[in-house]
C-alpha cells in the first residue's frame, strides 16, 4: 500500500486541527461522554445550509474542508467514507416521530438525512464532485475499509485526489445501548482512561478526513501498510503484530512511535500490556482519552499521526511509556474497537 496523506482535518472532543492550539493543552474532564467540540462552521458552510445539518453531516463537511485547506484542494476527485452508525440523530428523530405519531403526519427531512451515505452525498453536492463516492458501514473497520477502497481507487486513478474520512456521532440512545453492552462505562476521567482499567471505555465521537493521493508530496504522510483482523483472542494479537512488522520489513528498533488505541477497557488490557512491552523502546502515545472511543476512532489516530509529524512533538499528556524522544520516521498505529483490530504502518 502506498497512500500519501496531503491534508488532514479532524473535529473531535479535543477540538479541531485548524485551531493553532490543537493538542497544546492537556485535557481535563470528569464525564462518561466526550462530545465533539465543534468549530464555528460559518467559515465553511452557508448558515442556511448549516441549520438543516445534523452533527454528523456538519462534522464531516467541516473536517473535509479543513483537510482540503491543508492540502490546497477545494474539490476532490472522489470520496471514500467510513461510518459505523451513520446519521443516528436524524434516524432517531424520524423513528421517534414515526412511533409517537403512529406513522402519520410525518415530514421527510429527517428521513432524507438518515441514510448512511448522507455525509458523502452532502460533500459531493456542496463541492460539485461527480466522482466515485462510497460509504462503508462495517462496524470497527468502517474507516479502514474506506482506506482500502482508496488504495483500489488510487491504483486505478493514480493522478486523482481522494477525500477519505471516518465519522461517527453519539446520541443518548447509542451511549445507553453501548454502555449496557459494555462498550462504554460510566464514571470516567482523563487519568481513568489512560492509566487504569475497567469494563468498557469512554464514549466519543468525531470526524477525521484526509486528502489521499498515490503521488508523494513534500511533507505528506505515507501509509505504507494496513492490516486488519477481528479476534476475541488476546493471545493472537502479538502474533499478528509480528507478522505485520515482518511484512513491512521492519525491525522492532525501526519503530519510532507507537500510536496506541488503548482505551482503558480491562478486557483488552492483556493485549495492550503485551504490545506496550514489545514497543517499550519506542515512544508510545495514547489518544482515546482525547477522542473517546467510537467505531471510526482510528481516523483520529491517523490525524494525530499527521499532527505529530507536522509539529515534530508528541504531547506529554499522550505519553504512555518512558522511552526518550527521538526523530519520528516510522509510526505504527494500532487500534481496536471491540473485536475489530487494525495495524497501520505510517512513514513521515
Amino acid at each position: 500500500m502506498n497512500i500519501y496523506i496531503k491534508g488532514a482535518g479532524v473535529i473531535s472532543a479535543a477540538g479541531n486541527n485548524s485551531d493553532p492550539s490543537f493538542l497544546a493543552e492537556a485535557p481535563g474532564y470528569d464525564t462518561h461522554r466526550l462530545n465533539a467540540k465543534e468549530p464555528d462552521y460559518t467559515a465553511y458552510i452557508q448558515p442556511m445550509q448549516l441549520r438543516r445539518m445534523s452533527k454528523a453531516v456538519r462534522m464531516g463537511i467541516g473536517a473535509s474542508k479543513i483537510a482540503g485547506q491543508q492540502a490546497g484542494i477545494e474539490k476532490p476527485d472522489a470520496l471514500s467514507i467510513g461510518t459505523a452508525m451513520g446519521c443516528l440523530q436524524d434516524t432517531e428523530v424520524f423513528l421517534s416521530k414515526m412511533i409517537d405519531q403512529q406513522e402519520q403526519m410525518l415530514t421527510p427531512t429527517a428521513f432524507i438525512q438518515s441514510t448512511h451515505n448522507t455525509v458523502g452525498g452532502q460533500i459531493a453536492l456542496l463541492a460539485g464532485c461527480y466522482g466515485h463516492n462510497l460509504t462503508y458501514v462495517h462496524r470497527g473497520h468502517s474507516f479502514e475499509h474506506a482506506i482500502i477502497n482508496a488504495q483500489l481507487y488510487l491504483h486505478a486513478h493514480p493522478h486523482h485526489q481522494m477525500l477519505v474520512g471516518g465519522i461517527d456521532e453519539l446520541v443518548d440512545s447509542s451511549v445507553k445501548v453501548l454502555t449496557a453492552t459494555g462498550v462504554y462505562r460510566e464514571g470516567n476521567s482523563t487519568e481513568g482512561i489512560l492509566h487504569t482499567a475497567g469494563k468498557g471505555s469512554i464514549a466519543g465521537e468525531g470526524a477525521g478526513f484526509f486528502i489521499a493521493s498515490a503521488q508523494p508530496a513534500p511533507g505528506a504522510l505515507r501509509i505504507k501498510g494496513l492490516q486488519i483482523f477481528t479476534t476475541k483472542d488476546a493471545a493472537l494479537v502479538s502474533e499478528k503484530m509480528n507478522g505485520f512488522l515482518a511484512q513491512q520489513q521492519l525491525q522492532q528498533d525501526d519503530i519510532d512511535l507507537l500510536i496506541s488505541g488503548w482505551n482503558g477497557d480491562s478486557r483488552t488490557k492483556p493485549v495492550y500490556d503485551v504490545l506496550h512491552q514489545q514497543f517499550s523502546a519506542s515512544v508510545i502515545a495514547g489518544f482515546k482519552h482525547l477522542s473517546g472511543e467510537y467505531a471510526t476512532a482510528s481516523s483520529f489516530g491517523l490525524a494525530m499521526a499527521a499532527h505529530i509529524a507536522g509539529t515534530g512533538m508528541v504531547p506529554g499528556f499522550c505519553r504512555l511509556g518512558s522511552a526518550p524522544a527521538r526523530p519520528i520516521r516510522n509510526i505504527i498505529l494500532f487500534n481496536n474497537y471491540m473485536h475489530y483490530f487494525s495495524m497501520w504502518h505510517i512513514c513521515t
Binding site: Q113, T118, A124, H138, L152, A180
Partner: protein
C-alpha cells in the same frame, strides 16, 4: 497482471421466489407478488402495496439454518448466501474468500419494535433486540455463520449499495487480493423505510408501472441477491463454471440533490459510460439493460434521458425487473446482478410488467414481453440512489 472476476453461481430471494430457479420461473411466468403485506405490521397495510417475501422469520430461519432471532435482513441475506456459497464452501476452503454485503436498514425491523419501550422505560431487556441494529452487524452475523472471514465488509450507499459491493469484490479479485467473493446485499421491509418513502410521496398506491408515462411511484420490496465470484484460477480449483465476468463497473455521483435525480441524469450517464469504457465495449454491443427503473416520475425520466443520450437513440432491449420484485433498496443491485446473470446464462430477457403508455420525454420503450433464445453477450445493470450515488455494472458472457 489483473485477474478477471467471474460469476460462477448465484443466490437470490425476493417476493417472486426463494432461490434463483424460482425467481427465474416467476420472471418467466409474469408472477405478480406485489400486494398487501402479511408480516410487516404497519398503519399502511391496506393502502400501500409492497413486494414482501411470503415467508415468516421462522420460515426464513429454517430455510437458511440460522436463528430466527436475527433481524429479517440477516435472515434474507443468509438464505441467498447459502444458495450461492454452500455448493463451493468446501472446495474454496484453502482460498482467500471475501464477503461483500450491502444493506440500508440494518436491524431496524427489531429496533422499531422495542424503541418506544426502550425510550420510555429505559429497560435493558430491550437491548438484545438492538445489538444488531448496525448495518455491519447484519454482515457479521451472516459471514460468521458461513465461515467467510478473509475480508468482510458492508457498504451502504442507499439504492446503489449492492452494486457497489459487487464492484469492490471484482476489484479485489482483479488485484489478486482475494480468490473468491460472495457479493451483493439484502434489505427487509421495515416501517421506517416504508414511512420514509411515503413522506417523499413516491410510493405507488397501486402496482408500479416503471417507464410508463402514467407511472405513479415505486413499490418497496425486500429480498437479497448475491453472486459468487472467482478468479479463473479459483474457478478451476473449485471445479466451477464461469457464467460471465464482471467486466465493467463505475460509481459516479449526480451531485444534484440528496434524494432526487438531476433532470438529465448526469450521474447516470457518467456511471454507464465509464462502466462500458472499462468493459471495453461500445454502447452498440450492449445486449440488454437491466434498468434501475423504480417507477417514480423523476427517476425514470432521468434514467430514460441519460440512456437516450448515452446510446444515441439506438437503445438496446431494456426492462425494469422492479415491476416484479418491487424496489428492494440495498438488495436491488445484487438481485438484479443475479437476474442479469440468468439473462446471459439462458439467453432470455424479462419483460417490464404493466407497461402501457409511451413516456413523453423519451423516444424508446422497455421490453414488454419475455424473449427467449437470444445470445446475450453484455448486460448493463443500473443502480442509482439517494445521496446522488450512481453505479453501473457490465456483465459479459464467458468467452464472449
Amino acid at each position: 497482471m489483473r485477474h478477471k472476476a467471474y460469476i460462477v453461481n448465484t443466490g437470490v430471494i425476493t417476493a417472486i421466489g426463494n432461490n434463483t430457479q424460482q425467481c427465474k420461473e416467476g420472471l418467466a411466468s409474469g408472477k405478480n407478488a406485489i400486494g398487501k403485506p402479511r408480516f410487516l405490521q404497519t398503519h399502511w397495510q391496506n393502502e400501500i402495496p409492497v413486494a414482501e417475501v411470503p415467508l415468516s422469520n421462522d420460515e426464513l430461519a429454517a430455510l437458511a439454518g440460522v436463528s430466527s432471532g436475527w433481524p429479517r435482513t440477516a435472515l434474507l441475506s443468509a438464505v441467498a448466501v447459502k444458495e450461492a456459497w454452500q455448493p463451493y464452501r468446501e472446495s474454496a476452503q484453502e482460498l482467500r474468500c471475501g464477503f461483500f454485503s450491502a444493506n440500508t436498514v440494518g436491524g431496524m425491523d427489531l429496533t422499531e419494535n422495542v424503541y418506544k419501550d426502550f425510550k420510555e422505560t429505559g429497560t435493558l431487556s430491550d437491548i438484545p433486540s438492538m445489538v444488531s441494529h448496525e448495518c455491519g452487524a447484519i454482515t457479521e452475523l451472516v459471514a460468521g455463520h458461513f465461515g467467510i472471514h478473509d475480508f468482510v465488509t458492508t457498504i451502504s450507499t442507499a439504492c446503489s449499495s449492492s452494486a457497489n459491493s459487487i464492484m469492490m469484490a471484482a476489484q479485489m479479485i482483479e488485484a489478486g487480493m482475494l480468490d473468491v467473493a460472495v457479493a451483493g446485499g439484502a434489505d427487509c421491509l421495515s416501517r421506517f423505510t416504508l414511512n420514509g418513502f411515503n413522506t417523499l410521496m413516491i410510493l405507488d398506491r397501486q402496482q408500479c408501472q416503471p417507464f410508463d408515462n402514467n407511472r405513479r411511484g415505486l413499490n418497496l420490496g425486500e429480498g437479497a441477491g448475491y453472486v459468487l465470484m472467482m478468479s479463473e484460477k479459483a474457478a478451476g480449483q473449485c471445479n466451477a463454471t464461469p457464467i460471465c465476468s464482471v467486466s465493467g463497473y463505475a460509481n459516479a455521483n449526480d451531485a444534484y440533490h440528496q434524494t432526487a435525480s438531476s433532470p438529465d441524469g448526469i450521474g447516470n450517464k457518467l456511471a454507464m459510460q465509464q462502466a462500458m469504457a472499462q468493459a471495453g465495449i461500445t454502447p452498440a454491443e450492449v445486449s440488454y439493460i437491466n434498468l434501475h427503473g423504480t417507477g417514480t416520475a423523476n427517476n425514470d425520466s432521468s434514467e430514460g434521458k441519460a440512456i437516450e443520450s448515452v446510446f444515441a437513440g439506438q437503445v438496446p432491449p431494456a426492462s425494469s425487473t422492479k415491476s416484479f420484485t418491487g424496489h428492494t433498496l440495498g438488495a436491488s443491485g445484487g438481485v438484479e446482478a443475479v437476474f442479469s446473470t440468468i439473462a446471459i446464462a439462458d439467453g432470455i430477457l424479462f419483460p417490464n410488467m404493466r407497461w402501457q403508455t409511451q413516456m413523453e420525454d423519451i423516444s424508446w420503450k422497455p421490453v414488454t414481453e419475455m424473449r427467449t433464445g437470444l445470445d446475450i453477450r453484455h448486460v448493463l445493470s443500473n443502480s442509482f440512489g439517494f445521496g446522488g450515488n450512481c453505479s453501473s455494472l457490465v456483465f459479459s458472457k464467458f468467452n464472449a
